[in-house]
Amino acid sequence: MATSRREPLAIAIEGVSKAFGTLQALSNIDLRVGPGEFLTLIGPSGCGKTTLLKAIAGLASVDAGRVVVGSRAVTGPGRECAVVFQDFALLPWATVQRNVEFGLLLHGVGAAERGVTARGCLAKVGLAGFEDAYPAQLSGGMQQRVGLARALAVDPQVLLMDEPFASIDEQTRRVFQDDLLSLWSEDRKTVVFVTHSMEEAVYLSDRVVVLSPRPGRVHQVLDVPLARPRETADVRASLPFTRLVDDLWKILRKLQ
């Protein structure tokens, strides 16, 4: 599985609102994500960024408006999307290989094909040779690589990542960001990425969407015109990068 057999899909979020009791988590969100775009959601805690991601994944219902992935209005989880979770959500009783096969298993893919696909995905994320390990034997960064491989294994057209690097130390995180970018440039999926790190948002994305809290609204959208591939150039040290991070900080500071 060198590259995807499926085209990336666009996402349309149309007038989406969601309340938890009296707390207005999302208020009338309108947002479009282009096919193959890398979009990041950022904002103070309580701005509803994870809720919005779950709404796209079909894991959370919305009170008003709708989310359309490709041509399908989302009413529940669909096979176009795959989610990478902040806490990895790996099965502790299953080996790395079986964890990566999990999505395929649920989709009814036969054992032989599951095995081959999962091994391929593990190699892609740099975990070849760890097939028989159990998650608890791996570091946090490696566990998240398993989580990413599991998502890639189902060959999704949309990749939804909920603060995937939040519980990983800084050095590991930087290497992982580079690896994610090179994987993404080989196989352009539509990515919606939630983070609270400004550097991460700017480094990875085509656009950064700043959400404001209570009620969660789209506060501002920041374009990131940095040339790609960024992982090979020394983008993090460049002046345009620093300026963009600073711009983002100025926007976010007012929201605190």
Partner: protein
């Protein structure tokens, strides 16, 4: 290595203490380890102990088997269907809080003096623990894992088979292990009170004839049996829960 040494030392220490207690003597009737061992060999040789064991194991197998076959699915169903769990939990708590031995006369009245009665008591002793642990296991499922499975499009059946069941397995097995030790307690209580069958009868007969070495030998034999069964279960658990090592 150190563990083995400690175990050997503790067994030796126990035997020494026993020997000392028999020599003091604590009571005129207190049998020495050697006398007990001799009685044990004689009991095995005469066939009395194997015959009694066969009957007891039948009652245990029947009662504990039923506790597993009914208790585990009941506990799982209680965990999956919320109202059922809340409703059934009260009765299970009651069964656990109750001095279950008080049920023995009622069971004998209902089922008569036979192996089935012993099995019913074994069941009453062990089933509530087996069921409650399975229930707890289901309730301990990490919501994030269920959410993950849903994100990958799991059906309700897949969610149960692929997430709930493996998540609950450690708790279920712990319940089975505890249930088994409770089953042995139930078995001996039933047989001591019912008397005409099994190891309990052997203990009571030996006692009534002041053959305290035989009585002790039977008690020792029962302990060994229970320890063996529990060790077997522990091995099974270690194999099935290898990922926790």
């Amino acid at each position: 290595m150190i563990v083995l040494l400690l175990r050997a030392l503790s067994v030796a220490g126990f035997l020494l203490l026993w020997e000392w207690a028999a020599r003091v003597p604590i009571s005129f009737n207190f049998p020495s380890p050697l006398a007990t061992l001799r009685a044990l060999v004689a009991l095995v040789w005469s066939g009395a102990l194997p015959a009694a064991t066969l009957i007891s194991v039948q009652a245990l197998g029947l009662g504990f088997g039923a506790a597993l076959v009914i208790g585990i699915p009941l506990g799982l169903a209680m965990g999956v269907v919320g109202p059922l769990g809340r409703a059934a939990r009260v009765y299970l708590d009651l069964l656990i809080a109750l001095p279950t031995a008080a049920l023995v006369p009622l069971v004998i009245l209902s089922f008569g003096i036979n192996v089935l009665s012993s099995a019913v008591i074994v069941f009453a002793f062990s089933a509530p623990f087996v069921a409650l642990n399975a229930y707890g296991g289901v309730r301990d499922v990490r919501p994030r894992l269920a959410e993950m499975a849903c994100a990958f499009g799991a059906s309700r059946l897949q969610l149960f088979a692929r997430i709930v069941l493996p998540s609950a397995l450690p708790m279920i097995l712990a319940g089975v292990r505890y249930g088994l030790s409770r089953a042995f307690v139930g078995l001996i209580i039933a047989e001591l009170l019912l008397s005409p069958f099994g190891l309990g009868r052997l203990i009571m007969t030996a006692r009534s004839m002041f053959e305290h070495d035989r009585m002790f030998a039977t008690v020792l034999w029962t302990l060994l049996l229970a320890a063996l069964a529990l060790a077997g279960l522990a091995r099974l658990e270690a194999r099935w829960l290898r990922w926790r090592a």
